[in-house]
Symmetry: C2
Subunit: 462 residues, 2 copies
Amino acid sequence: MLSSSIVAFALKPRLLPALSRTATTTKPAVVQARIANLVHRNMSTFKQENHKLLVIPGPIEVTDEVLYANATPPLGHTSPDFIPYFGDAIRLTREVVYTTTGQPFLIAGSGTLGWDQVAANLIEPGESVLLLNSGYFGDSFADCLRAYGAQVDEIRADFGKSATQAELEQALKAGKKYKAVAFTHVDTSTAVLADAKMIGETVKRLSPESLVFLDGVCSIASEEIRFDDWNIDVVIGASQKGLGAPPGLSVVIASQKALQVVESRKAPIAGFYSSWKRWLPIMKAYEAGTPAYFATPPVNLIRAYHASLTQILRSDVSLQDRFQLHKDAAQRIRQAAKDLGLKLVPTDEYNTANGLSAIYLPEGLGVADVVPRLSQKGVVITGGIHKVNKDKYFRIGHMGTTVVDKSRGDIDKVITVLKESLQEALESKKKASPLQKSTGRPTFGQSTYPRSIAPASARARL
Amino acid sequence: MLSSSIVAFALKPRLLPALSRTATTTKPAVVQARIANLVHRNMSTFKQENHKLLVIPGPIEVTDEVLYANATPPLGHTSPDFIPYFGDAIRLTREVVYTTTGQPFLIAGSGTLGWDQVAANLIEPGESVLLLNSGYFGDSFADCLRAYGAQVDEIRADFGKSATQAELEQALKAGKKYKAVAFTHVDTSTAVLADAKMIGETVKRLSPESLVFLDGVCSIASEEIRFDDWNIDVVIGASQKGLGAPPGLSVVIASQKALQVVESRKAPIAGFYSSWKRWLPIMKAYEAGTPAYFATPPVNLIRAYHASLTQILRSDVSLQDRFQLHKDAAQRIRQAAKDLGLKLVPTDEYNTANGLSAIYLPEGLGVADVVPRLSQKGVVITGGIHKVNKDKYFRIGHMGTTVVDKSRGDIDKVITVLKESLQEALESKKKASPLQKSTGRPTFGQSTYPRSIAPASARARL
């Protein structure tokens, strides 16, 4: 048993509040395990390797504590040493989305597996789903639902836009019965933020039997999600974005209403690995402090995820503070884009994500002209991922420790390097083709059109 | 660029042959990436935490190099820095099962996801599968196949036994057309080893159209698997056993014949995340050195898996040597059990696994009397997992670095601690109930019945 003085010495100061706050709400044994997690013998000497700043929309930068947890010797998945980490991770996951009754499922897999879980457990062949599509990931979510036999109706927003309340109301009033309404909270391809509260409340008002599926892979822990208050039935997440851990863990939260739908379905669940009937007893057992087996959990990644959740939820920066920090960082990136004369992909302020920016390149530059230059300067961003426009814009992730730990200076670095790289890329282009003429579309350094009065020629580009 | 002298200094001696051997068969850029992987800036100072010796049948002990790779800062999944690791991991996976044409699929998930891949891609609803069942994991494999609509016929071996060639021949000659023959190579619940070569060859002879599914989760890299030579169509594996990495990566290898079956199926593939049609272009792209996206790969775990494969396949211990080391270790454990008067669960020498032992407890002792005692002495083993007998036997894993790196002394420690713990447990029982009488079944220290002449009373216990 470690003495309290060793604990105090070994813990990083910003983690200390975690323990006192935790101690009032969870059992002593659990707290002890959490302390053990934070007091690694070698943690004080572990520093991750020097590396390029990773600011794509996930995976993201993660803390030394999280990486170190990922490098702890594997624990037996049914061992008493491991159970508290898994149980805690389940409990803490609820807090991220403000639910007291939602049921987390933590399963080895990528974020994509969350779509399969929803489709396999909650939709029976032939049932209808209304999908609010705001980008590439909306398309893929629809593909997944259809692969399980769903009949999917889509409200397809124009590139850079999201479905409006009027469109949603119109669809729900058209007389068709929807088993579920699904949407991508932040589409990673466009940085478009959907109004989750509006969607959840509108569905509750006009189609109360319908389930509400929120794909939060690119929003969870970066954007506010009020699971219980907003009438959300499923949040689909993954470990490697706002949740601040390496990729490989599918994080899904289901409402009790959703679990009832599983219980009452007529067709068998369309899968084995994704079956909540098989996983539910496992999650309940670990949360109750006992082991159970269906498939081997990714023990190291669960410890890393646990370490990240502890930092997110038990540090002196509250969850609400974190959301504000994401808004502040997003505002800084947007202002920098504006100063550079660049346009954002999302067409409106209110539906622009706070953990991710998608920004049009200046006229005449492609992704290959810019992204490698930033990489050479130590900043990894990425290009577009939408089939039509993917070479016309780039994306910068601003999530997790990059945003929350200001002492890192990550956002400053991103802005500085972006500016330098664009300047160099444009100069390089000018040298290569000195006689190239303007097409009338916005170029680097030139003021962008106010979005609301952009002429058709500029809007067509969206 | 690192100079060769730095490389030579930083590499552990046993990894050096890897590079020269590799250099002759893969592209320079790939080799350079592999060197970069091995020459971590901080690797020389990283040592995993002191911990209990983990000798359950997976997760297992992993090396410092593997854990350190798991703690490298996440790389972007489409970044040029990451692609060679993924490409290499795919190539090296083939070598583990001696195939030149098999197609590896490396997907975030547990070993269980491999069953879903097989069932969703290769079996259409109503098709028949013959399953050779030798334990709990045979039951679960059958459950998974049935969940996808397969009609499963089982050859159910008695506890501790595997299907015989005569039984397999009889089933294949009965006139029913089987889409596939499936078996658990080593059933983790019983330590029973199936004769994979016999099964593959018998199917080829009597039912050449049938696919052969080998569940190798508990055998891959611990037992020889000759994929091409033995007529195997799918090997299902996972990262956390013989492959020597943390859990969370599903490792599956499919034959070209199996991929053809996917192409020619009539029903759509029964899933999205498990669809090989979606994953095949991704695996091919990464192997060709270009990125592609379907779902975010577990970048850290792939680096850890890559590090482990490099140690398995490019050290001065050949793969064939490794298999022999597993046999030697298994023999030592079996001899120790025999010296203690204990019986093994597998009833015959030829079908006893080499990476795992399942051993009956002495009369009068349950799992709870023994397993916690070993844990207190720093050795983590586990109890049974078969519904009938799970409290009557225990399991010890002997895989990976525990077996291959003899300087660790793991096997000695296991045997010593097992002996001490059993002695203490029996003495404790004697004190608690001094008048307890023998039932005639084997007890600690008493010579076991030769298996072939065990009386019915003893055999019934199996």
